[in-house]
Symmetry: C2
Subunit: 324 residues, 2 copies
């Protein structure tokens, strides 16, 4: 993803509150759910903020809508673009369609049909590219140059981060006290927004970002104080393969207490718990925070722990072929 953006300013709690005021009539105030089974397993009280129920299936819609809502008239007329085969594509397509803006999404030609259909279903124009990051960036840049489209970055943008933070804002409004807040980390947008909110409203809370071991660039970046690229990440958590941006990295260094990593097996186990015990369809990236929590079990005795379930977009084609 190319890193050119205009909004490199720092983000604060007021930006998140403003974002929420801007988007609240269009986003779902997603439920906070609990599970006595999981509480018993970990000996603490866990509150799951279920962004898998969010419109377009993930928290990404919050940031996308907060961003397109703030475009100038001139930018709106130009239309927006992004390159992604993931949740940001669907989120931007829906946000643009709701605000009457043309959206163009550059997708690798091997993208799953279900994602292409969903993005197109929200009214976006899809332009296919080769299956490499270089091709995605190049095709998007060509389109921006030709048509003047405005790039909406998936995470390294103050408006996206403020929007992402509104999920934690709603959760804390509802559950009030939290000792810990867990969120998954990929590019860092969700965890940045969540940490700004947690540290402002609950200064004593502990913010933990959880990352797949097989894509541990954020863990190493945080440890060594410099951004590492995400090279050949091989994880089932497809939403967390991206690397940090300079803005998200700055916020994370300031507000996040620790980044921990989890194995692929731990991710699948957590996902299965959420499906079997809580009856929630959660994507692998969305289950990563719970794996972290299970890993840190010993520290969490009797604590109140918030967990952000980031999304629920899983390709179920094979499963339904098998049962029908």
């Amino acid at each position: 993803m190319c890193d050119s953006f205009d909004h490199l300013s720092m983000v604060g709690i007021q930006d998140v509150i403003d974002a929420h005021r801007r988007i609240r009539d269009y986003v779902l105030w997603t439920p906070v759910m609990t599970s006595s089974t999981i509480d018993r397993m970990i000996d603490c009280q866990v509150f799951f903020k279920c962004e898998n129920f969010q419109r377009a299936g993930a928290f990404k819609f919050r940031g996308a809508l907060n961003t397109v809502s703030q475009l100038t008239e001139e930018e709106r007329n130009r239309g927006v673009i992004t390159h992604s085969s993931g949740n940001h594509a669907q989120a931007l397509a829906l946000a643009a369609s709701l605000t009457g803006i043309k959206a163009t999404i550059v997708m690798p030609k091997n993208s799953p049909k279900v994602k292409v259909d969903a993005t197109r279903g929200y009214g976006a124009e899809i332009v296919f590219c080769e299956n490499s990051t270089e091709s995605r960036v190049q095709v998007a840049q060509e389109l921006m140059q030709t048509h003047g489209y405005v790039l909406v970055h998936p995470y390294n943008d103050a408006r996206i981060i403020a929007g992402a933070g509104t999920a934690a804002l709603e959760m804390i409004d509802e559950v009030e006290e939290l000792d810990y807040l867990f969120a998954p980390i990929g590019g860092g947008g969700l965890v940045s927004g969540s940490a700004i909110v947690a540290k402002s409203l609950l200064p004593d809370s502990n913010v933990v970002a959880v990352e797949p071991k097989n894509a541990d660039d954020a863990f190493r970046s945080f440890r060594d104080g410099k951004i590492y690229p995400s090279v050949y990440p091989d994880t089932i958590a497809d939403g967390l393969r991206t690397q940090l941006g300079d803005l998200t990295f700055r916020i994370i260094r300031e507000h996040v207490d620790s980044i921990i990593t989890v194995s692929e097996e731990e991710i699948v186990n957590a996902m299965r718990l959420l499906w079997e015990r809580m009856k929630l369809v959660v994507e692998p990236s969305g289950a990563v925070s719970l794996s972290g929590l299970l890993n840190m079990k010993d520290e969490l005795d009797d604590k109140r722990v918030g967990v952000i379930i980031s999304g629920g977009n899983v390709d179920l084609t094979k499963f339904f072929k098998q049962i029908s």
Copy 2:
């Protein structure tokens, strides 16, 4: 299932209200969820009462707890028994464990391991039998004679029906007005309880029971005015293979407006909608009401429609083997 029970009296709204008072501190007040996608598909407003989130994964816990809570001291000391490999087994095991009563569950020896483990996990003793209805009944009766266990029938019991009705009671308390209420029908406990509530609180509402075409004994019984047995039902909706009891049949004839049937393909399609669009893990029986609603689309323009999602217990072993 043997049909000997003590509670053949008719059930009224006051019984459901009393049941709710009795169980409300132990059952989850499950959320009512909505989906703008599904509303747009059907051109009406649909409210999903999500009993897949109920403890032990289905509405069955309501009736089981309402029943064991009313046992006499002498009956409590004897312990309870049922024969089932389904949701009633888990529900009774949990209800008995919460009220300090011994539960024995007779299960066919080919029951899925995940169900056996769950039932045992709630503290019940499992006794295996051969894989026929005859063997289940026979083994249960022998155990009742030897140990004096009290049989808790899965549906043909006024206490079970009143408990099942508490889901509709909560839903109507929350959404207030409904033109239609859809529930799946197998033995008829859920639809009996729901119809009693709907017809008492919203006399103009229309109660529709939905049944798999491949297990249409209730449809035929309702049409012809006599109970047909369920012979070799071949449906993916394993919770709906049972036949009506005399008590549920009487209530259904009095309060239910129509019984409609749906194909296996329609059940799977509705299930997929719930998983993909609403991110809800719903079992096939739980998706049956939505298939009925999709079938009756033309009648439902601009209506307010309540749908009871009865449960979410699906064996996900294969799915997780495939992804990990």
